[in-house]
């Protein structure tokens, strides 16, 4: 294994001396950060003024919501029960942009749902939330307490305001985090595919420049193969760690320098509500109204997700690397290596599809199959882990990881046989017959 290590280090050095590899160390994270920035910025875009219908069948709010109404918001009251489906379809309500559903137990369950037809802007969301918090507080003080407002704020519970798309009310938070898992799975497959192809290219190059024979007079074919797999793993991990590090720094910098406005938006200053008052209303900050920011900074358990990402990245790399090695050993020249990589890329695309499928149908039989199929299990695992998994489901994911390791080891063993025969062969025609004969040889 010592020789494999030297070979791996040489592979790593070759990658490091490659200009495009060095550029990608910086360009990749910058592109991701740019995408994050655009995502956050677009998340705060939306309708700038709204006509809102407050369905308050128990008349809890008593037809009032704020003494200082915003010019962008116009509230009307409806003192009957109104289902969001009726609001959506009934022509009587076409003139309203949003429905605030004040259920008759709101003073107990502290939950209000707001159904919108079009996503309200960040400022509007914050204003609605603030108006509702204030009015519910007034009602509670009137009905239940002899305390003054400052005393009450010390003991009151936060009002849970949930914004929902009236056309897609089931778009739950789990799905949002599942998208994060899907993105990580996509990144995983991108890295595995990109660096896996480097294994094939590297083997082809060594065959073309005839260095293989010099190497094989010093190392066993299996050592050479493992060196290549390890070397490309090191370079992909280096690239990945660099990306994670730079993206982490970038997200921190965004939070500190670019997204500060989301904590204390302009309108708060206009209405002279200070941060302390806001906090006392149970609103940690307005940050929570920006879905993307909340997702990025609060809802992802990064240490847990990244630990699992690391495991499944290794497992996925292990099962794919053997295929790329076989391809390199089997191909007669570099163009063969590129052409015959198509079946491997089909597996990678299947992985990408499996992730999407797992998000859409998390409990289907096919999702179960994809979660154990070694070439797709890494992606499905990331989707599941980010969506939130029970202890049992989590242990099953580790079963999938074990399957990846076992299948990968078997494939690497078979790849070793092909590699041993193929490394000194070039300019031959690739065929299944050739593959079969090489697999049979000792």
């Amino acid at each position: 294994m010592k020789n494999s290590w030297f070979i791996a280090l040489r592979e790593l050095n070759e990658r490091l001396s490659n200009r495009s590899f060095r550029w990608m160390l910086f360009i990749g994270p910058l592109l991701v950060l740019l995408a994050v920035f655009v995502l956050v910025e677009t998340s705060q875009q939306g309708v700038e003024s709204m006509k809102v219908l407050v369905a308050d069948p128990a008349n809890i709010l008593d037809g009032k919501i704020t003494a200082h109404p915003s010019q962008q918001l116009e509230y009307d009251f409806y003192n009957e029960y109104l289902d969001h489906e009726v609001f959506k379809n009934d022509a009587r309500f076409n003139g309203y942009d949003a429905l605030i559903e004040v259920n008759h137990k709101v003073l107990d369950n502290k939950t209000v749902r707001i159904f919108y037809r079009e996503q309200p802007s960040f400022t509007l969301k914050t204003t609605m939330r603030f108006d509702l918090e204030g009015r519910v507080e007034e009602v509670m003080l009137d009905q239940f307490s002899t305390m003054n407002s400052n005393e009450f704020r010390k003991i009151k519970q936060k009002l849970n305001v949930r914004f929902m798309d009236v056309d897609d009310p089931l778009n739950t938070s789990e799905e949002e985090t599942a998208w994060v898992g899907y993105s990580l799975g996509y990144l995983m497959l991108f890295f595995v595919g990109f660096f896996g192809m480097n294994i094939t290219r590297s083997i082809n190059r060594e065959k073309t420049n005839r260095i293989s024979e010099v190497l094989l007079s010093s190392v066993r074919p299996n050592e050479l193969m493992m060196g290549k797999i390890l070397g490309n793993l090191l370079s992909s991990l280096l690239q990945l760690i660099f990306w994670i590090f730079l993206i982490g720094i970038g997200l921190w910098a965004f939070k500190e320098f670019f997204f500060q406005d989301y904590f204390i938006p302009d309108y708060l200053n206009q209405t002279q509500v200070d941060e302390q008052q806001m906090s006392s209303l149970g609103m940690k900050n307005t940050f929570q109204e920006n879905m993307s920011l909340e997702l990025l900074y609060y809802r992802i358990n990064y240490p847990f997700v990244m630990l699992n990402f690391g495991c499944f990245f290794l497992g996925t790399y292990w099962v794919y690397s053997s295929l790329f090695t076989v391809l390199g050993a089997l191909s007669g020249d570099e163009s063969d290596g590129q052409q015959f990589s198509l079946p491997i890329w089909i597996f990678i695309f299947l992985g990408i599809y499996a992730g999407y499928y797992a998000m859409s149908y998390p409990n289907s039989e096919w999702t179960t199959f994809f979660s154990y199929f070694p070439w797709t299990s890494g992606m499905v695992a990331m989707v599941k882990i980010c969506s939130g998994v029970s202890t049992i489901a989590y242990s099953l994911l580790f079963l999938a990881f074990a399957v990846q390791l076992c299948v990968g080891t078997l494939l690497v063993f078979m790849a070793g046989k092909v590699f041993k025969q193929g490394i000194l062969s070039n300019n031959h025609r690739v065929s299944f017959k050739l593959l079969r004969s090489w697999l049979r040889k000792n």
């Binding site: 020789n3 030297f6 070979i7 040489r10 050095n13 070759e14 001396s17 060594e206 420049n209 005839r210 260095i211 293989s212 024979e213 010099v214 190497l215 094989l216 007079s217 010093s218 190392v219 066993r220 000194l424 004969s437």
Partner: protein
Amino acid sequence: MIELKAVSKVFGQKIALDELHLTINDGQIFGLLGPNGAGKTTLIRILTQILEPSKGTVYFKGAPLNFSDVKAFGYLPEERGLYKEMKVLDHLLFLGRLRGMDYKSAKLSANHWMDKFDVSSWSNKRINTLSKGMAQKVQFMGSLIHNPEVIILDEPLSGFDPLNIQMILDEIKELKKRGKTVIFSTHNMSSVDDFCDEVAIVNHGTLVIHEKVTSLKENYRTGDFKLRFKGNQIALANALWTSFELLDCRELNQGQFEARIRSRGGQKFNDVFNELSGAIALEAMEEQLPTMQDVFLKLVTNEK
């Protein structure tokens, strides 16, 4: 000592080596000859353990050859390769470390060889910026960096310019002086004449002959003599009579000739001298031993 006992190698239907027995003694330059496709490269790949024999055993120092012995072998293959993006020194260090050297001794050895082959100033240059001759020197150094006991050179002179050929040949002599065994596969027969102690000729995967170069030449002598004399051609023809055959004769200067004759009765140098010296004024005479080219052609043609 390297000993091959009944070594065979089969690729599918093709027998590349067939029950080959061969012994290569320590400290000699051993020529491995044969036409293209004879099985030389297969034999070399078995010695370097790139291939395993289908049958038979290779012994090194009396024990079956195993993978830990590769460190004792240096190998320059016929189809040579270099990592073109690597720097000269890095490439040599990499090969040295693969052959079991620690970093310090690999660097020491690399610097020694770079000084010797006058490429020290190129140590930090990428190999793809070197001339072909310079790159070939790097390849040659790569096979010697770990100070191997046995050096296997497959067509080491191909592609080199005359200056570099001389440098390589001098180095091979030097290696022999230091007690190394050099296995030398080549088509360049003059180099075999000059350097090899023993040769083995392989054809169609079988051993045609294995002998010392001197005895091989002795055994295949043709009885040809080259002589320079003053006089006339008729006098020479009369002197030759029935014991010799005149192969050719040309006039060098006025009355001075150079001729080649072949003895018919196995006469030795003294016999020829005694028979001719009375008839013509002999100025110079030498027996023309066969070249390795002659022996090789004769043996391989006979095989066919």
